[in-house]
């Protein structure tokens, strides 16, 4: 009881025979992510049902065997709508988070590694853009295009790289002052090699974590833009569209059109975050004694 798994898992980050709580968490997360991805990829081509099939006879049915998630106010099957919605929302969330992280990491790493006027210029640009409310900026960007998935991705990506740039720059600055960078310089490494070999891998876990945390945020932005009529067209299911459309029925006591899309935002997000945390420990292992400081 007294000496449980932690010591073993921290000392030897992989390959212990004991199954710690962390391993269980990683496995559950991995299973959930796998189920989500498989559902999103396989259900639409295999099932071949029309997610937009309206059946006014069967509107707002509570969950049953025929409709496990119930039906919405036009009698459309919510399970099917949720799977399609999850597909769109995940696509928007992941694509926007990836793009934002790429831009943010590039800008932040350049600012941190170059220093001097380049750093000051880049960070003032970040400050300037941050001073504009990002939903407003996003609306401007998305309004320049026809409604659809990709304008939403571009809009969210272009307004959300700022925080990543700040995180990455701060991390690069802290890494740059460590003696192991001095040792690399003394060992003949070029500026480029230090950046690629030591600085970038050092900030990747932080950037990856920022990317994962941005996925739900991007999904919420997608729903906000859809709600304002600037995002996805309403006949296309996205988790945001589904929840927005269900607000009326929630007040009337019909909980299922809100609950299931909501769960589908929360559960995959937590699962991805669980995996990201384990990955961070794998890539940037710290001793427990250091973690306690």
């Amino acid at each position: 009881m007294t000496c449980e798994a932690p010591q073993g898992t921290v000392w030897r980050s992989y390959g212990t025979d004991r199954r710690s709580t962390r391993t269980v968490r990683v496995r559950v997360s991995a299973a959930l992510v796998a189920v989500t991805v498989l559902a999103v990829l396989l259900v639409p081509p295999l099932v071949q049902l029309d997610q937009q099939a309206v059946d006014l006879q069967a509107k707002l049915l509570p969950p049953s065997w025929a409709h496990p998630f119930g039906t919405d106010d036009l009698g459309r099957d919510l399970l099917l709508r949720c799977v399609y919605g999850l597909r769109v929302s995940l696509l928007v969330g992941v694509a926007a988070a990836l793009a934002a992280t790429l831009i943010g990491t590039a800008v932040g790493a350049a600012a941190g590694a170059l220093g001097g006027w380049a750093e000051r210029g880049l960070m003032r640009l970040v400050d300037t853009l941050s001073s504009v409310p990002h939903l407003l900026l996003g609306i401007f960007i998305v309004a320049m295009f026809r409604p659809g998935v990709w304008p939403v991705v571009v809009s969210v990506a272009l307004t959300h790289w700022l925080s990543t740039a700040r995180i990455v720059r701060a991390e690069v600055l802290s890494l740059r002052a460590r003696p192991f960078i001095d040792a690399a310089v003394s060992g003949g490494a070029s500026r480029w090699r230090v950046a690629i070999r030591h600085l970038l891998p050092g900030v990747l876990p932080q950037a990856a974590l920022a990317a994962v945390l941005m996925v739900p945020h991007a999904m919420w932005h997608e729903s906000a833009l859809s709600f304002l009529g600037l995002g996805l067209p309403t006949h296309l299911a996205s988790l945001g569209n589904l929840i927005q459309g269900a607000r009326g029925s929630l007040l009337a006591g019909q909980w299922w059109p809100t609950l299931f899309p909501g769960l589908l935002i929360i559960v995959p997000t937590l699962a991805i975050a669980g995996l990201a945390g384990a990955w961070r420990e794998r890539i940037n292992p710290r001793r427990r004694s250091e973690l306690m400081l």
């Binding site: 921290v10 000392w11 980050s13 001095d182 690399a184 003394s186 060992g187 490494a189 940037n284 292992p285």
Partner: protein, 223 residues
């Protein structure tokens, strides 16, 4: 010859940490630099290793004046100096296995083909077993990690070695082993040594001569 003349150095334009320090090492000589903690020894060591640009003063390395520091120093000059720091934990990239840690300078200078041969010689010299070489920094002790850091400093066969409080974090037997490894390397190659520390008993026994911080910052300049 490693000559530091009238060095004044500080950080970010603040008050200088080192004022008018002058230090000369003859080729192959080992010099111990003693001083209380916080006096600027480490900063001077970083200037000598071409890692920190001094505000004023000149550094001459084997007759060549040093014109650039850090990345701006020519690679030939940078790699002529090996440096070992006080804290092994901070001077090792946490992601690299000890093998890669030691081989990194060879990779950075495009001498991959020498890795196997250099490692097989260096690892026993600093007291690292093959099992340890396969681990990452968080899986070894401070002493074992410092052995790897010493091996990394020696891997390019530097003509000068700078040990900045190399043994301060270590127990007596590991310290003795590391000093032994340094002396073995110097006996084989004739490299010079600048050992910085505050333990005069260690430095007196280790080095050809020792100087005190106060003597290099004021007296020699006045003379």
């Amino acid at each position: 010859m490693l000559e530091l003349h009238d060095i004044t150095a500080g950080y970010d334009g603040g008050t200088p940490v080192v004022r008018n320090a002058t230090l000369t090492l003859a080729a192959g000589e080992s010099l111990g630099l003693l001083g209380p903690s916080g006096c600027g020894k480490s900063t001077l060591a970083r200037v000598a290793a071409l890692l920190h640009r001094p505000d004023t003063g000149t550094v001459t390395l084997d007759g060549e004046p040093v014109r650039g520091w850090r990345y701006r120093a020519p690679r030939v000059q940078r790699t002529a100096l090996g440096i070992v720091f006080q804290q092994p934990r901070l001077s090792a990239d946490p992601r690299l296995r000890l093998t890669d840690l030691i081989a990194e300078p060879l990779r950075a200078t495009g001498r991959r083909d020498e890795i196997r041969q250099r490692l097989s010689g260096l690892a026993p010299a600093v007291g690292l077993t093959p099992d340890l070489l396969d681990r990452r920094p968080h899986e070894v002790s401070d002493g074992q990690l410092q052995r790897a850091c010493l091996a990394r400093a020696l891997v390019l066969r530097p003509r000068w070695l700078i040990c900045d409080e190399m043994t301060a974090m270590l127990d007596a037997s590991t310290a003795a082993a590391l000093v032994g490894a340094v002396e073995e390397y110097r006996a084989a190659t004739g490299a010079g040594l600048l050992a910085v520390g505050h333990d005069h008993r260690l430095l007196d026994r280790w080095c050809d001569r020792t100087v005190h911080w106060n003597d290099i910052t004021t007296a020699e300049v006045r003379a």
